[in-house]
């Protein structure tokens, strides 16, 4: 009986804790938006973060995009060959990249490359009292430290995702046309006939912006909320990767259902 009460109490405690944390996260997100002025008035701060989140993720995005496109070309060809429609390879590669794989995989890579770095950086700034020091200097750390990182992430994400897709299409072209020998003309024309600018490309961009918001917001919150110890920061880094990956996949399902339903 006592064991049961104890169990119930601990469940209740966890629920209250989760709700409390959700509220805290929402308030944090609101504060980021409220103090975003600094990120744009002093755009240099954001440019600096664009370097560390965007430019530093460039190599992994380009290489991964290339190989994903090559795999798509190979697998797509094997499957399409059975139905004698190898010419549709271009549209298969491009559609899967632009609609899904580009935004989703680029965001997953971004979460583990830049998101975890953001969490670790902010967590360490907190652990070494740099955040407190800033507050004591009458400088709002959310405006000065968090905001520029957030906007840099939101700006980087669609660009990285576009680069990923473009590299992927190139990779698919290399495998499909150059190596296997699918007709070049039908590769491109089928692609252009199937991919619609508004419906596919623009929706892909919207997706990646949403993912950018989600990943950076999670990464920054986890860093800001991390216990100021070594274990605290490493735990927060792990949580960032896990939570933002889940968030990306769940959001992707919701956005896909919303964007590509019906028509």
């Amino acid at each position: 009986m006592i064991g049961l009460t104890k169990k119930l109490r601990s469940i209740g405690h966890h629920v209250v804790d989760a709700v409390w944390r959700t509220g805290y996260a929402a308030r944090f997100f609101f504060l980021i938006l409220l103090y975003s002025g600094t990120s744009f008035q002093r755009f240099r701060l954001t440019v600096k973060e664009l370097f560390s989140s965007g430019v530093m993720s460039l190599i992994i995005i380009l290489v991964a995009g290339m190989f994903v496109g090559m795999v798509l070309g190979l697998q797509g060809y094997e499957t399409l060959k059975r139905y004698g429609s190898e010419s549709a390879l271009g549209s298969l590669v491009a559609l899967s990249l632009v609609r899904e794989l580009g935004p989703v995989l680029a965001a997953l890579l971004f979460a583990s490359r830049a998101g975890s770095a953001m969490t670790a950086e902010i967590g360490l700034m907190k652990a070494t009292e740099q955040i407190s020091a800033m507050e004591m200097m009458a400088i709002n750390p959310i405006a000065r430290v968090v905001g520029p990182r957030f906007w840099a992430g939101v700006i980087s994400m669609p660009l990285l995702s576009a680069l990923f897709s473009a590299m992927g299409v190139f990779g698919g072209y290399v495998v499909g046309v150059v190596l296997i020998g699918v007709d070049q003309g039908s590769f491109w024309s089928q692609m252009q006939a199937a991919v619609d600018f508004q419906h596919d490309i623009l929706n892909g961009v919207i997706k990646s912006v949403v993912f950018g918001v989600a990943v950076t917001a999670i990464a920054l919150f986890e860093g800001y909320d991390a216990p100021p110890t070594a274990e605290g920061v490493s735990g927060a880094t792990t949580r960032t990767v896990v939570q933002s990956s889940l968030a990306i996949l769940i959001l992707d399902f919701m956005l896909t259902a919303f964007m590509f339903q019906g028509d």
Partner: protein, 157 residues
């Protein structure tokens, strides 16, 4: 990292990203193949549009000349009202046929325009009177079965 070197790298990153986006838009997508700003609208009523969707292509002699802008059900006629955006460069006679066709056996559905011989041309906002609905597989099979049933039985020998 030096200030200018950092700026340079961020600049390269942004330019490359935008370039990739425009490659996607122009080379991969179909943004280059038609220009939405120079279009005029036509309407047509169909008793059945089958699987036609908005953004579906409109072709004449196989050439893309426009896109379906909107599909709705006319509440008085109980027919599907299809609004089409047609490229300004192309004009069609009043007695043009609008047919809903299928590309390939199982492909997407599109509207095919077959020009008539009228000297008067369709103006923006006009209605195409002569239309032919989509072929629906169930109807086809149904018709085929009925016609088989109606055929006089072969006299037994």
């Amino acid at each position: 990292m030096d200030r200018t070197a950092l700026d340079l790298w961020v600049g390269i990153f942004v330019v490359a990203g935008l370039a990739a986006l425009s490659v996607l838009a122009l080379k991969v997508g179909n943004l280059s193949s038609y220009n939405m700003s120079e279009t005029y609208q036509l309407q047509a009523y169909f008793s059945n549009i089958g699987g036609l969707k908005s953004q579906a292509s409109i072709k004449s002699s196989g050439v893309l000349i426009g896109r379906v802008a909107m599909i709705s059900l006319d509440p008085e006629r109980y027919e599907a009202k299809v609004t089409m955006n047609i490229d300004k460069r192309y004009h069609f006679p009043k007695d043009t046929f609008a047919n809903i066709l299928t590309s390939g056996l199982l492909g997407e559905q599109y509207i095919g325009m077959i020009p008539g011989g009228d000297t008067e041309l369709l103006k923006a906002g006009d209605e195409i009177k002569k239309t032919q609905s989509a072929l629906v597989m169930e109807d086809l099979i149904g018709k085929f079965l009925y016609s088989k049933a109606d055929e006089p039985k072969q006299p037994a020998k």
